[in-house]
Amino acid sequence: MEQEGIPTTQISLIRLHTEKIKPPRALWVPFELGRPLGVPNDPGFQSRVLLAALRLLEVSNGPVISDFSEDAPASNDMVTTLSCPVNLNPKIENLNDTEKLMAAFKNEISGLRSWYDLGLEKKGRTTVGASGMTPEAIGDFVSSLISGKTIENPREDIALGFSVNLAISDLKAYYSEAITAQPGQEAPSSKLISHWFWTETVASRVIHTLKETCLESEDKLLKLVGRSLLVPAEYA
């Protein structure tokens, strides 16, 4: 961009990379990956970050890396665990059978629907949808994959592996938006939501099973998706 004549400034999440690349202007921020402006629903904090990055455009020469001194405000400390009126933790022995696992999975998706819809109504916005499938259709799609049935790629414009990846991303967003629609749980920390999803839901077990299915596939992209893109490193 700068070579083409446009002044640039950037937010930097990994200072080491910025030190190597040496862009013209960079504001390093001490925030977690996925939150370059620090914290949701805090316009004052976001504005301070943004202005600090934009003010670098008025520095006389560079490259320059400036460090943003404030940490992101802590999340709602009153929320230490997440709870859900839907029974998301059926007995483990019931889920060793694939058919029972899939049935529990679809029940779980169905059970969250009212909360998800409420959240959508309150916020007027959802991030679910990039896959083009509803959560219920994702449940069917994933079940078919795991059961070894012949399946069609639900999209014509991207490869099956990308469809699988998007489906799981949408599924996780659906769960997250549903659980945070419940009273008193609107703004838990990212760690809390992640921990809840990966340790207390049937969906997490299904995704681990799907990962194994992908790893056994002949499809190279599916193998890659299974190996690296379905389960975060922390919960692998």
Binding site: Q3, E4, V29, P43, D71, T127, A130, S169, E234
Partner: protein, 154 residues
Amino acid sequence: MARLESLSESERKTLEALECPVFSNHSWVDGLPLRQRRVAIISTAGLHKRNDRPFSFAADDAYRIIPGDINANDLVMSHISTNFDRTGFQQDWNVIFPLDRINEFREQGLVGSVADYHYSFMGASDPVSMEPKAREVAGLLLKDKVDAVLLVPV
């Protein structure tokens, strides 16, 4: 927080080992005071309009156009990585795409104007292969009379 020492060992090692492009020359372009600049956002979060096609690794399909009057509910993410938080974006798009904040700055006179179009790439793609499309976006920004670009990672 994205201090490397706060990440898990596997994540930290992956990020430390990541090869970064190095430039032989360091371009620098001066400009007007911020209050007179026209600002555009470029994200690497794999953002696009809801009905736009999702990102893949295709180098010739590296970016998506985000109109400046986009509604928050019309912006979705198809980044392939699972190793960053998305709950912030789910709660407030400004955490990743601070368009509301930029528009407020315009109303407050902190910036001159906001671009008609913003852009998103998908950061998991190979940066070297993105160069032709990055230059293409630069050309589009110049046509939009943009003289300040905010690059936002994810």
